[in-house]
Symmetry: C3
Subunit: 206 residues, 3 copies
């Protein structure tokens, strides 16, 4: 399988899963069907839209092609129709969310490097692509973005983007670098959930 | 009256009314005069700014011409000076807000089609133009955006944008298509308020 | 010292101080180390990123050069390591924050004028540059942006940007205009805190 095809498949999967996560937040808040679709689409495509805007690649891909919109809407519809089943699938959704996180971080970093951004900025852009959708989802639900207080979430995206940029720096072939970086980000995220890894916090008031 | 002149008049009216709605939220929260003006301007021009950014039409019209800024500021000032009178005008404001919603949805969709966006993306852009200002207003007031839980609000914008795109597809003259689509969106919004229409919701916890 | 060098130094200082303020909010909320860094970077560079996007100058400077990212991250790290000391420095931080506010307002207005924006739009852009980081910081922390209810904050940025644009209009030399406008904004902000200046508010419910 070529790298481009792999990235396309993973991108569609990531958009769908992020759409699902937006819809589930909307359902928990008892929004109506249209509110669910709006939050699914916002969560599924916001990261990519912000990435393209920051790269000066407007109009963003999410408006030029039809698939991101269609995939995210479909995710919202599925969440509405199969709410109970998806709630029972808590673990698989977490797994797919981790995959989306890793894919978007590496794909965002890759696109930024192609557009001639220096590695530190490209890593930042990868992280923004990966967490942008979730941040908008939580802001629209008037919650503190989970990425800010959930340990090893943004950090996993950061690690994936850094790994990809470093691999390319050392002339690792692109497909290998991408696959390894995605696996690193996904693995780090899953391991942190499984083993309850936390990052240092400032000393508390007590 | 030409279509361009009609759109200009409606655009000014929509900016003014959205500015009013932002200012009224700020007043309810007891912000000071400058906070009221900031929220009026943000609500009045944010939808158009996001639309222009997404189209790659930066700098956006709200920065290149002076009128959007002036009209939204004037709305904020009016709301500050005539708070009591406007509060009594609850119904007219709702009517004007519905007009703004319809106008911005159709105008946004139209501009996107002119910029060569495919119809599904153009409809999305119309909806973003129409609801963007209100979403920013509510996020800045740390509230869940009303559009997410108020039935038939984003849906009315969506219907207007779709109707416009479909009419053009079937070669309906532009002025007729625009007028019909705006009327559809406004009528749908007003009827939903009048008759208490709701959309399906996910089954509740009770 | 040339005007360009002065602006560069002040820009670095402003980014650092805004980064500090974002980190302190994250620490108060007990985010982990990475959440602190994310909020420091978001607060330090968001104003400039939004400014560059609105000017059509994508990719924004914060992605093309490395220093804004590095400086804001460093501020986050300092805040994490020296929390207690910074908390004791309450007054100096407020002073530096006022300097950042003034610098970003004038620098944003200046860049907009260079890009050919008319004075009213350039002033708006200066205000957005100056308050953008703080607004994003508060939105991400699920708080009402302080700029909306803190008297004479956005107004100080507004005064600085207007003063700069008016000075240039009357052919005042650029360095003099910039220095005077920054001093005006900083002085207005500090005086308002020192003397408890407030703006008129709408009549309350009682």
């Amino acid at each position: 399988m070529s790298a481009a095809l792999l990235f396309t498949i993973l991108n569609v999967l990531g958009t769908f899963v992020f759409g699902l996560s937006g819809a589930m937040v909307a359902i928990r808040r008892r929004f109506d069907l249209f509110g669910i679709l709006v939050l699914a689409v916002a969560t599924g495509v916001a990261g990519g839209i912000v990435r393209d805007l920051l790269l000066g690649a407007a109009p963003p891909e999410a408006l030029r092609s039809t698939w991101p919109l269609a995939v995210a809407s479909l995710a919202g519809l599925c969440a509405f129709l199969f709410t109970k089943q998806i709630e029972r699938l808590n673990r698989p959704v977490m797994l797919l969310d981790a995959i989306g996180l890793g894919v978007f971080a590496v794909a965002g970093c890759r696109k930024a490097l192609i557009y001639g951004i220096e590695p530190p900025g490209a890593v930042l852009l990868g992280v923004i692509s990966a967490i942008g959708g979730g941040v908008l989802r939580d802001i629209m639900a008037a919650e503190v973005p989970r990425v800010l207080h959930e340990d090893v979430y943004a950090l996993a995206a950061f690690a994936g983007a850094v790994a990809y940029a470093v691999c390319l720096w050392f002339a690792v072939p692109e497909t290998t670098a991408a696959a390894g970086a995605v696996l690193l980000a996904v693995g780090l995220r899953l391991a942190s959930v499984r083993f309850g890894w936390t990052l240092p916090r400032p000393p508390g008031p007590d």
